[in-house]
């Protein structure tokens, strides 16, 4: 915890310093009748730097927590995140309906080891319901992909 807090503090310090400096460099500090667009961002950067410095140098620390869990839990978090990212990245190619169904099949099967028929039934039902609510009922145009046109 001590270390993660320190690393976060250093990161925040760098980001906020860049934030404040960027404000001064690229935007006007003072408009023609009052503070300009750089005014508040600059001060926010300064305040954040102070907070980060406080965290970097303070002595009291709460109970320790590790940043990433170990073993199976870590694998699960990484896989869930990876599959979700892939789903989002492929949405344009696969389209909402096909993409959703595939995403659900992969993730439900991975997490639960349910029988294939159940996994596929859930995926189809959810993809269908999702389409029904958002596209048919609420008229949100979803990505269609290359396999499906409405």
């Amino acid at each position: 915890m001590r270390n993660t807090d320190r690393i976060t503090a250093v990161l925040l310090l760098v980001v906020s310093a860049a934030f404040a400096a960027g404000a001064l460099k690229y935007y006007k500090w003072w408009g023609h009748d009052g503070p300009g667009p750089a005014f508040l961002p600059f001060w926010l950067g300064v305040v954040m730097s102070c907070l980060a410095a406080l965290m970097l140098f303070r002595r009291t620390h709460p109970t320790p927590v590790s940043l990433l869990p170990q073993g199976g839990a870590r694998t699960r978090v990484v896989v869930v995140l990876g599959v979700t990212a892939a789903f989002i990245a492929l949405l344009k190619v696969l389209g909402m309906v096909v993409g959703t169904a595939l995403f659900l099949v992969v993730l439900v099967r991975y997490l639960g080891r349910h029988p294939w028929w159940l996994t596929i039934a859930i995926a189809l039902a959810a993809a269908g319901a999702n389409w029904l609510v958002f596209v048919y009922w609420l008229r949100v145009p979803m990505p269609e992909g290359m396999f499906w046109t409405f």
Binding site: T4, L54, V80, G112, L138, V140
Partner: protein, 476 residues
């Protein structure tokens, strides 16, 4: 009709483990986009009420509070469930919520117009001071570590700076990305932090299945239960409303306070923590009264009292409604519609919660392995349907990861979202004030209302600092 659907969907979402009211409302907000404003708002209000109660169901049955406001309910609610009295616990919570919610709506009707009229005299300095007070108090109460709370808040404000500057029209921090010119929308951020972040945190554990069975008969509390908790409900309602009206305090503080009060006035305080029905009735009434009361500052001043109301506020702004004192003059039909729908939502909640609890309990039996992918799907579609672009979805994913780490490291996503929503408004108020005063900071302290609010806001910052200084002093 919309109210009915909203309550049901809200309860269902709220009853899912790991999805509390802020995530519930954030996830459901996109559902209202396709509707006309009035039905959208009614549905939103109903979902708000529904998710609040949904959180109670998980507190009592599986000892997992949906959000901080129902943490206290776990203490005695889960104990009651272990003793086989889950039914009466949920029943008294529903009845208490109904009574508190109804009285809350009546008080909301009486207090809001007065407050709005008073707030009409507010200039930019008062608005800024009020927002500062809202931000600092929410942050102060957000978590165990005030420093991390403030870091989350300032981070939210920094994110709010991205996009067009309202006064000069300059685009800031866009890095040439066209999607960033309009700024960072709060909804993908909220869905990411609350929805996806929670799911990722939940992915760590293989949650055990609960076996629970309930029937309608078992949901109704007995006469003895009722006699035992009627004053607890009354006290909880009054206390809850008073606390809820304060900007920044909200349902969580209300529920903790009322639990403490109940324990103090009880003749048998030793029963608390071991399944005392008053320990469920009082905080549940209080958090519902406070949830209704939190609408008062949100509607009249534009300052939300909790993460959930912050998301509601963002939702209202998407409809082009700017909450604040003028709302009562410009859109009276909307305000009264919202208030009326709150009332209907309360009635619906009572009926739905007593009649359908057994059904909702089944939702808890769906294994997490199926639930989790479905929640992620909801996050993705929700983020997408805001503006129909994938950039928002990517943003949601990034904030999901940030939310996961924030949760693990003890930062406060609620403070971040609140700051993101209030940021642009606060900046405008600040700069207008400084233009009026010719860049003197004195303007915030020479006007009486603004001065009082500023002092309170600064006190909220000073308290944790003083405490921190003291621990440092005692160590050396």
């Amino acid at each position: 009709m919309m109210a009915v659907a909203g309550v049901l969907v809200g309860m269902l979402i709220g009853a899912l483990p790991g999805v509390g009211p802020p995530s519930g409302v954030a996830l459901l907000l996109p559902l209202t986009f396709g509707m006309e404003p009035t039905s959208g708002i009614i549905m939103l209000a109903a979902m708000y009420a529904g998710t609040m109660y949904g959180g109670t169901i998980t507190s009592v049955l599986i000892n997992t509070p949906g959000e901080s406001a129902s943490v206290v309910t776990c203490l005695d609610g889960y104990q009651m469930a272990l003793q086989g009295r889950a039914g009466p616990a949920l029943g008294i919570a529903a009845i208490g919520s109904f009574i508190a919610g109804t009285i809350g709506v009546v008080l909301l009707m009486l207090v809001s117009p007065l407050l709005a009229r008073w707030a009409l005299s507010f200039g930019p300095p008062e608005t800024f001071a009020l927002m500062l007070l809202g931000l600092t108090t929410v942050t102060m109460l957000a978590g165990e570590d005030p420093l991390k709370g403030y870091i989350s808040m300032v981070l939210g404000l920094m994110l709010a700076m991205v996009g067009f500057d309202i006064i000069s029209g300059d685009a800031r921090y866009g890095f040439g990305v066209p999607e960033l010119i309009d700024g960072i929308d709060f909804l993908p951020v909220a869905i990411g932090l609350f929805g996806l972040g929670e799911v990722l945190a939940g992915a760590e554990e293989k949650t055990a299945q609960m076996k629970i069975s309930l029937r309608l008969r078992e949901v109704l509390p007995s006469l003895a239960d009722w006699a035992q908790s009627k004053w607890a409900i009354a006290r909880g309602t009054v206390l809850g409303f008073l606390v809820g009206v304060l900007p920044g305090a909200g349902p969580t503080v209300a529920s903790f306070l009322s639990y403490t009060v109940e324990k103090k006035v009880s003749k048998t305080p030793e029963r608390f923590g071991k399944g005392a029905i008053e320990g469920v009735a009082a905080p549940e009434s209080a958090n519902n009264a406070a949830a209704t009361a939190a609408m008062v500052p949100m509607l009249t001043l534009g300052i939300p009292g909790s993460a959930t109301t912050a998301i509601m506020l963002g939702g209202l702004m998407m409809w082009g409604l700017r909450p604040g004192p003028l709302l009562f003059e410009k859109n009276p039909q909307f305000v009264w519609g919202l208030i009326a729908s709150q009332y209907i939502a309360n009635v619906m909640l009572l009926i739905a919660s007593t009649a359908l609890i057994p059904l909702f309990v089944r939702a808890l039996r769906i294994p997490y392995s199926i639930l989790m992918p479905l929640i992620i799907l909801f996050c993705v579609t929700g983020a997408y349907s805001l503006k129909n672009n994938l950039f928002d979805v990517g943003q949601m994913l990034v904030f999901g990861v940030i939310g996961y780490f924030m949760k693990k490291l003890g930062y406060s996503p609620a403070a971040l979202v609140l700051a993101l929503v209030l940021g642009p408004l606060a900046e405008r108020a600040l700069r207008q004030s400084l233009i009026i005063s010719d860049a003197g900071l004195g303007i915030f302290f020479t006007r009486p209302i603004s001065a009082v609010l500023m002092v309170l806001a600064l006190a909220a910052v000073a308290v944790p600092l003083v405490k921190w200084g003291r621990t440092l002093f005692s160590r050396t």
